[in-house]
Point group: C2
Chain length 472, copies 2
Amino acid sequence: MIDETHIEALRSLLGVKGLLTAPADMAGYETGARYDSGRAAFVARPASTSEVSAVVAYCVKNGIALVPQSGNTGLVSGSTPDGSGTQGVLSLDRLVAPFELDPVNRTLAAGAGLRLSEVNRRLEEEGLFFPIDLGADPRLGGMLATNTGGSRFLRYGDVRRNTLGLTVVLADEAGTVLKLGSGLRKNNTGVDWKQLFIGTSGAFGVITECELNLEPVPRQVATAYLVPSAPERVSDLLVAMEQALGSYLSAFEGMSGNAITAALSHVPSLRNPFQSGVVPEFVILAEISRSSPSREGEQPLDAVLEEVLGAVFERADTLLADAFVGPPQEMWALRHALSEGVKHSGRLIAFDLSFRRGDIMRFLARMKAEMPKQFPDISICDFGHIGDGGVHFNLVVPAEDPRLADGGFEGRLREWVFKVAVEDFGGSYSAEHAIGRKNQVFYDLYTPEAIRRLAAGLREITSPGPLGSVNF
Amino acid sequence: MIDETHIEALRSLLGVKGLLTAPADMAGYETGARYDSGRAAFVARPASTSEVSAVVAYCVKNGIALVPQSGNTGLVSGSTPDGSGTQGVLSLDRLVAPFELDPVNRTLAAGAGLRLSEVNRRLEEEGLFFPIDLGADPRLGGMLATNTGGSRFLRYGDVRRNTLGLTVVLADEAGTVLKLGSGLRKNNTGVDWKQLFIGTSGAFGVITECELNLEPVPRQVATAYLVPSAPERVSDLLVAMEQALGSYLSAFEGMSGNAITAALSHVPSLRNPFQSGVVPEFVILAEISRSSPSREGEQPLDAVLEEVLGAVFERADTLLADAFVGPPQEMWALRHALSEGVKHSGRLIAFDLSFRRGDIMRFLARMKAEMPKQFPDISICDFGHIGDGGVHFNLVVPAEDPRLADGGFEGRLREWVFKVAVEDFGGSYSAEHAIGRKNQVFYDLYTPEAIRRLAAGLREITSPGPLGSVNF
């Protein structure tokens, strides 16, 4: 518990709406999107950068730990308090200003508390959008703190690539406010400090505002399901598609048959798109798009995609004949339902891995070969972003499996998967979810001593106060 | 002068080819591409990361200052020694390994001493390239240390966006070698440390190797010269072109009539492309390109560009009728000759500025109005990258002008331009040349105290030894 005088002091800084202490009010801030939950000493909801600064300064001076929380949709326990009841949640949910569009610059100055869906809804009329495509609907601050990537990384990159400026509050006794960068696209006048706050889970400072790059909304989109002739031909297929399509190609997603089957079983609105009714072992969802409106005399994008698939099929043995072009909305609906389907198939143990693009299918083949020996009766329901090397490597254990009662089972399984992915394949144990309490242990295990020393030094010069859920 | 025992010790680390001390051998390393020159105590030319580490460690332990030098094509006196004769040059020119292409991953692991032209020549057969388009031919290490942008930023971004991994040597007593990132495109496992070494002129460590993103070489290119109906309509023209062309648009460059006239006068191989013979006040070079090969039935890119220009001309009063599509090589030849032409028109005082895109033409208008009053008889020969906000703002003073004999004249002129650009317009005083001795004074002037403190702290935890030409 936290001293009542602190609660009073914080309330006087933030007003009644700005501080929650009743258990019922705090509940939604104490539980994460997927994993464990904790207990908050209070929930601070500052409505401006200067209020954030005041709260942070007060808490640093009084040794009160704060965990910044944005949309709370993360999957690594990065934004919820621990179980001690001594940490305050610093919610960004009232930081919804500014919202200033500069259409000539194609940039938006935005409060970190705005949700992705709201940002894009408000930009729709201008024909612009913030081009990060995700299943979840996070707030901007959390997207920045985790450097989300998503399904159109191949075309648009991650949050880092699309961030031109940040306002951050440091956890020092002054609650120092830094304005790092602005709307300039080219600017090389020293260290690009904003980079340190992107993808670092709020450990070095609290992001309160940002300036984002926007892109023209695609006006023409075509999608196809491709069935590779064999899993090991997927990389050749990717290269062939990139050579034929260049920057038209905006997504190249992989979906395992197991994940598709799980989605079809558990999401009633979907229909099986495969004519034979048989779900293939592995399917690629390829998307091409143009941000230019279609012009008279121009070949429709569906026809372009069909022609290219025909040529790829002719040229090399990478593709089975049953590739087909179909309606983008329906094809993406299946892709986006995979996560939901997998979650309902049993007990989910999920990994957010990445590899060099050529290694993904090799890793999956090795897992398919060794999993039955090491951990039998586990279903591999992977899907992900072949085009950028990302794999949501999902393992489903039958719900009634007695091993789930063994407290050490999940840990041993995770350790083994990470060992193969990181040590044998040089992959990443956190491709796009960043670090939270959930994978602190793997940060500690896989981060070289020299880098951990640097991180501790950086913490000291930026935010020496107790901030965030990660110990970098 | 430096003690002969140090010279002997360094020679034993690097071998005879690895250490230059004869004045004639060192001369090329002492003089920069455009500005002043200095005097080197020695030139160290390590041939591997471990030799760099050994040299740096030796120099840190013995208090010998090192200035890393890459292709030495920079324009801010960042890579040459000062005049004291006590600094050693640490040349990257023998760091030409590795050169390892991963075609599926579309990445290249490369030594920092490779020249851009050589990298792209060796990649040509694969249909890939490192997509940074520059007039100069730097080595990779310097491109990274200055985060070069160039003319295709609009499509491909800067060096930062295209860097997946770095190997750096810190200036500490151990000459610590850090391997930061690798070929992974999605990887969020802590601080993205490589970002600190990109664009910081070698002050925090020496870059010895890198892993770079490659892009498919464009297979179809079309270019046009556009004459805006008035300078203030350039931003509307840019927006109209982006709306019509989306990601086809790969360059949108501005060229002042003065710069064009200078190039036509001083570069004999050029011909005046304007039918009337009269050079317009301001011309845009627009380029569209596709990395996909042209397919039968597809509209040629020249025709696409002509059609779009026709529609833009119809729709709004942004464009004069005399826009014309022409051969890309010839159109770019003029653009690339501007720098050379301007240099030969008198005494050049050059600025590398950037703005929000909508501010560029406003800044230029203000300069055109005020320059004759503040600093008469100076010709404004600007050109640059309207699409990304960059302006090479060049001032040409007549060669025999008596003001050039006044030591304070250039400083006063620079101060005034920077004041308007940075203070009044929120622009950058170094868009893509980074910081060197040349603009240290503006770094000191325009960098907030809190940021300078952070930079000093960062220096302390990374490279406390004497390294580089900049005092961050």
